[in-house]
Every structure is written in C-alpha cells, then in structure tokens.
C-alpha cells in the first residue's frame, strides 16, 4: 500500500507520528498480532501434547508387529491407515496426505486472489475466492470423515475388561492407545477444524463483497489480503499438526 510507506521528515523518527512505522495499515497490523496470539493458543495445545506424549512410553518394536495397547503411544501410520470407500485396505497416511494437499492448494488459490486484488481485477478475485472456498469445504468434509472413522474404530477393538471390548475412541476410552492420545486428537484437530470453518465463513464474506462491488467502490482490495493472512495461518497450523500428529 503506497499510502502507508510515507517518507519520514528529516530529524524525525518513524515513531514520532504521522506515518505507519511498520509500513502496513492498522487493520493488517492488527491481523498480524491477532494471528500471533492465535499462534500462542495453538502452541499451548501442541506443547501440552508434546509434554504428555513424551511422558508416555514410546513403541520400540517393528512396524509390522505393532499392536494397539494402553501401555505405549501408538505410531501414526497404524492409526490413520484408512481411506473412504476402501474398507479393509491398508493405506497409511494417504487420506491425511490428501487433506494436506487440499489445504496447501487452497492457500495457493488464496494468494492468487490477493494478487488479483492488487490489480483490481474483480473477475479474477471472484474465481480464486470460489476455489479457496471449495478447498476449505473439501478439507472440512475430509475431516468429518476422519473423525467419524476415529470415533467408530476398527473391528479389532480394544479389550477393556474380561470379555468386553471397546471400539474407536471418545474422551475416556481409546482403542488406539492411551486416552490422552484421543483427547489431544479431538482438541487439536477440532480447534484447527473450527478455524478452517471460520475461515470458510470469512472467505465467503469476502467473495460476497467482491461480487457486489464493495471493494471496487472502496478503491482497494485490502480485505482480501487481511483474510488471506488468516487463511494462510490456518494452513500453517495444519503443517505443524500434520507433522506432530501424523508423521512423528
């Protein structure tokens, strides 16, 4: 934004007033600091996960011989090994890989919408915002599937007492490993999914305002940039969730 990069008068500091010392508008700066605070929240969840996970015993045997047990933390490729429509097929991490791909692609379409906004190109902003919204909805759909599978469980189940078995997971029981594992899964991917949902709502609002010509009348598309920052942040958090939940 040209208006925010005003030159500082000789003998004055950028902090003496009259210019934006950080070179961005108020709204964008506040979005950055909101995202920083949101990063603290996600970090708190992930750090707690790291503490609890590392205080449990790790599985030390081979991947082939792995069995779900309450005595050690499960390895991710055995927990997330299903894809929709292919019951019984062992496809470790394929579905979550698809989800990662969808979210990265929707981040790319978002940044292309921002680029189109810089050029005041309304049809291009509309096109890329539609793709971004579709990507977000596709991701949420995948997550709903992922959660349903995680909650329903596999046919092996987990023996909880003499002759009784527990299938899937909730906040108290978990067939895949220690209950803490399912708790963190629900809280962290759930909190992230909530952010994706809010992001889709914001993106739709931006799309609506673009179509009705609000930003053309305003003379700039900075709102696309601000919501774009939020959407990239959601993608960024997923990159970390993907590593710490599905790979490590």
């Amino acid at each position: 934004m040209a208006s925010t990069s005003a030159t500082v008068a000789p003998g004055k500091s950028a902090w003496d007033g009259g210019v934006s010392p950080m070179g961005v508008s108020y709204g964008k700066l506040m979005m950055w600091f909101f995202l920083l605070s949101d990063a603290f929240t996600f970090s708190a969840l992930l750090i707690t996960y790291g503490l609890v996970r590392s205080s449990h015993h790790a599985y030390t045997g081979t991947v082939e011989a792995f069995k779900f047990s309450q005595n050690y933390w499960p390895i991710p490729e055995k927990v997330y090994s299903s894809i929709p429509f292919f019951h019984g097929l062992e496809a470790p991490l394929v579905f979550v890989g698809l989800m990662t791909f969808i979210l990265i692609m929707s981040s790319v379409t978002m940044v292309l919408a921002v680029e189109a906004g810089h050029r005041m190109d309304r049809p291009a902003v509309e096109k890329w915002m539609v793709w971004t919204i579709l990507g977000g909805i596709a991701f949420l759909g995948c997550q709903a599937w992922e959660w349903t599978h995680f909650i329903t469980g596999t046919e092996y189940g987990q023996s909880v007492a003499e002759g009784t078995k527990f299938f899937g997971a909730n906040l108290v029981h978990n067939q895949y490993g220690p209950p803490d594992f399912a708790d963190f899964f629900f809280f962290i991917t759930g909190f992230h999914g909530f952010h994706v949902f809010s992001g889709v709502c914001f993106n739709f609002l931006i799309y609506y305002n673009t179509v009705t010509g609000v930003y053309d009348r305003r003379g700039h598309y900075e709102m696309v940039e601000k919501v774009g920052l939020y959407w990239h942040f959601v993608d960024l958090v997923w990159v970390f969730v993907f590593t710490f939940f599905y790979l490590v």
Partner: protein, 107 residues
Amino acid sequence: MDHSEETHVTVLPPNKEKIKKLWTVAGILGVITAFEFLIAFTMHHGPLKTTIFVGLTIVKAGYIVGEFMHLKYETKVLFWSILIPIIFIAWMLVAFVYEGMAISLVR
C-alpha cells in the same frame, strides 16, 4: 446495479513474474510434503527421523509465512515483532518435551 462508478476502476494486467513465483513456492511445498511421506515409510522411528520432520516443517512454515503471508518483504520491525515471540515458543516446546521424557523415566 449502477455501473457508472465502476468506470473509475483501472484493472492492471496479471503480474506474470509474481504468479510464477507463487506457483514455484507451491511446488516446493508439494515436493517437501512428498519427501516427508517417503521418509515416513523408509526410516525407523527415532530421534533422527523426528529431527528431519521438524526441520522440514520449519522450512515449509518459512515459505508459507515468508512468501504467502509476505512477511519476508515487510519492514524489519514487523518481521522481528512476529518472529522473536515464536523463538521463545520453540524453546518452550523443547523444554517441555525434555521434561516429558524425564517423567517417562520415573513412570
């Protein structure tokens, strides 16, 4: 709809160079993710594997924040205002995971 006010809007042609760069970044993110998958199935679980994953994640995060969120091109004071708190967060993560490993020894 009233079209008279839209005549003031000047649409610029696509910035080909910038768009190409964005797709390059997307390609890099895709390749790193594919490489992570390769490692996930070819390496044994252990500290080395974890280190590689965390390293690649930081590279990916750098591209997303630096290029997509444009932080690399913002003023220095904004750049460091965002990055310095994150460095403390990273230290907190290391400290708590280390603490957790100590707890697992006495369990």
